[in-house]
Structures are given as structure tokens and as C-alpha cells.
Symmetry: C2
Amino acid sequence: MFKVTYQRYLTMIEQFLAQLPWDKEILNQSMYYSLIGGGKRIRPVLALAAAEAVGGDPETILPAAVSLELIHTYSLIHDDLPAMDNDDYRRGRLSNHKVFGEANAILAGDALLTYAFELLASPGTSQPERQLRIIREVAIAAGKDGMVGGQVADVAGEGKTLNIDEIEEIHKGKTGALLTVSARLGGILAGGTEPQVTALSDYAQALGLAFQIKDDILDVVGNSEMLGKPAGSDLRQGKATYVSLLGLEGAEHQLHAQIQKAQSALKPLHEGAIFLNELAYFIEQRQH
Amino acid sequence: MFKVTYQRYLTMIEQFLAQLPWDKEILNQSMYYSLIGGGKRIRPVLALAAAEAVGGDPETILPAAVSLELIHTYSLIHDDLPAMDNDDYRRGRLSNHKVFGEANAILAGDALLTYAFELLASPGTSQPERQLRIIREVAIAAGKDGMVGGQVADVAGEGKTLNIDEIEEIHKGKTGALLTVSARLGGILAGGTEPQVTALSDYAQALGLAFQIKDDILDVVGNSEMLGKPAGSDLRQGKATYVSLLGLEGAEHQLHAQIQKAQSALKPLHEGAIFLNELAYFIEQRQH
């Protein structure tokens, strides 16, 4: 059942992405290249599932849900640039700037971020007041006090010895804020009550942390081919991770604690949240 | 009178920018450094003046007007990067990446663009439907089919012989689209009628073209110190400009024609548009 629902969401997302008006110009090709790089689509999936969890129709909020994937993709393109992480590969394919050049990669990222806000403002997604609220929330989560701020802190922290609180702070900004707003987006646009939206927030916050801990664990125990990047690369780069700070067993313990926290946050949503409950389990068990 | 009004708008804009919650972290400092680099603030001024031209209160739409300056500033930071135009100076000061490094410059641009949409969604700026409409229009003007698209075409056109239509096409995207939407923003958010908004559009489109022609003329006849960059740099880079294609006299003629077109577009706005009318004259006469 979980897999069927996940597949249904994925199909909605991929079809929506494919039907956007991409033309053959290099900018469109460059944006599309990175967008169809695959991945779990965890952010729009969270949004669609949150909409259903509060009794809404995920189809209605699809443009807004997909905007989250555009924002995530732009951040990956910019993070991979030589001036940042200087990664030649992403999910087993050449990174954007290796294919289209640095200038076009910067601009493709800029255009994806801008396009995301066009989609968030799509007419008829929800009541206009709710759409404006979500645009503000997404901008805050993706911006200087959220994702971009986390990336700046990450760049600044390179080569330094960070403790567990500092790492958690970076992750909260870099990945946590956008994941949390993804669940909120679905809940708010689909007309959820404030207690429901708070439940979705708490769930997504714990899930985001779990996601990051699992990433760190997979970097150590994972298989390079399944990960699409060399296993152990964080350790070799001397990056502090949950595993380097807590040990493998300590990290596994933390992971499980966050998954339980996520699942118990869902209680006010009753049966609407079965998929989200199983999604937490899926995050804990994933192999890539 | 024109100067008094311009100064009133500038004071509103500068005060708004200064009171935003900038902290001492490097990202905020980097964003603020480029934002307070000065300049004519032509985009927010256009928006505020357009709001007054349709009988609205410019103070109400100030966050949205300032968002246009954030978008313009982000585009300058990214354009100056080594992978793009590789400019070490901007308005007579070191460019952002020369002060804060390339990674932080990319991220400061990203954060400014994101912050712009947060400001555009500020509660109480106008009716929510109008705000959503403007968010869509700004995203389209700033994105792949507007400003970013124009920059991609500009990068792709380097070293090629472009004709006047191709140059006009690049400018329409690179600078024209955002200038046009600036005037529309003021008109729409302040509750202008559709004919008024169309008049503002036509005005700003001609003004944007005039602005670019004047830039090309100043590059040839201007004074490096007043321009804040070496005069003649376009010519030395072998860039096709209005002057290189039409000659100095031909470019002056084109400039005047566009200014007249802009001014005559204002007729439906009657006396509300006195400032905009004089702004066109100011653009024609400016020395930097």
C-alpha cells in the first residue's frame, strides 16, 4: 500500500515536471537536465501526502508541491559548483556545470528558484491568503535564515571541528527547514487546521533530522553504486558527521529515536497519516 | 519638483532597506554590502511613482517595490562572478565576490532573490489576489523567459556579431522585463485599472529601451569616474552596442524616439504621471 501511494505521488510529480513548457534553448535544457536527475522527490511527496492527511486533494496543490523540488534542485546545482563543493557528479550523473558550463549552471539555478515562486503563485491552488502565507514560509525556509544560511554555515565550518549541536544547527537550516515547510505547505494549502499543521511540522522536523543521520550512516556503510557517489567521502573530507561524533551505534540509536518522534507527532492526524507514518519507517530503512 | 519627489522616494527606499533585520553574520553582511552600493534605485522608484500615478499610497506597496531592488542586486552579484562577466568592480566599489569570496557571493545572490519573494508576499500590501498576480509577473520577468534568459543569451552572444534586433531581444529580457514589471507592480498593487496598467507597461517598456541606449552612449562619451567603471569598456570588449551598430548620432536619435514614445504612453494617466513624464526626460539627460 505504501509503495502504491508513493508511486502514485511520483507519477503525478514526474508528469507535472515533464509537461512544463521546456523549450530547446540551453537554459531550459540545463534546468530540465538537473530536474529529471531522479531522486526520491521527498519534498513534493511530503507535501502531497500532507495534503491528503488533512483530507485535501493532492492534485490541486501539485504546482506548489513541485516548486519544492525546483528549489531543492537549484540548491544542488549551486552547491556542486567549483566555488562551493566542487562536485563533478550528482546522483551518478555529471553535475550541471560539467555539462553546461559554470555560467549556465549558476543561471539555471537562478531560473529554477525563480520559477518555483511562479508555481507557488499559480491561480487556483488554494485560497489566495493561504498561498501568500506559504510563499512567505517557503521563502523564509529557503533563504538566509534557512537553506541558504545553512549552506553558508556549512562552507564556513569546513575544516573546523564541530560539535553535535553545531552540526544539528547547520542541518536544520540546510535541509531541515525546507523539509518542514514541505509538509506545512501541503497541510496549509489543503485547508488543514492549525493543530494539524503543527503536527505535520513536528513530524517533518524529526523526519528531516532522521534523514540526515541516515545519510551520514549510509556514507559509512553504504554501497557507492547505490548511493551514486563514493561511499566514505564525508569521512575522507574530514567532515564531522553524526557517525564520526556518536559512533555508528550511537547514530543508529539517534536515528531510531527521531523516527519514533516523527511517528508519535502524527497522532492528531489519525488515519489520514498512515502513509506519512510508513514514510518515516521507509526513511529509516532506505539503502540509498 | 521632480528632484523633490525623487528624493522622497529614495528616502523611503533607503530607510526600508536599512531597517530590514540584517545581522552581523557574513551572509547578511554580504547581501547588505551590495544592496547599499547605491545606484538610482530606478526599479523601486518606478513602482512607487506608478502607484501614485494611479492614485495609490506608495508607502503601502513599499516592501514590494524594494523587492525589485533585491532582484536587481542579486543579478548584478551573479553577473559579476568570474564564471560570468568577471568584473572586479561595481559602481566604483569592489564587487561582492572580491570582498566575500565566490561561494558567499553566489549564496548572497540566492538569498537576495529568495528574500525578494518574501517581501512580495508581505501581508497587507494589497488585495491577496493582486499580490499573487504580481508575484507571478515578477517571477516571469525575472526568470528563464525574462532577466535570466536575457543573461544566458548575452553570455551566448559574446564574440558573435549581433544585429540590432538580436541586441534588442537580449535587452528586453536582461533589463526590459524587470523594468516593465516594476511599473506594472506599482499600478496593479495600488489598484489601477487595466488601461492604466497597460499605459504604465508601454511607458516602462520604452523607458527601458531608452535606458539601455543611453548606457551604450555613456559608455562612449561618458566620464569613467562618474560611471564608476572604465568608459569605453563595451567597445574594447568588442560588444555590439547601439552606438557600434547605429553610430553615435543614430543612437541619440533612437534614444529620443523612445523617450517620446514613453511620454506619449502616459497620456491616459493625466496629471498623476507628471513625475514619470519627467523621469523619462531625466533618463535621456543623465550623465551616469
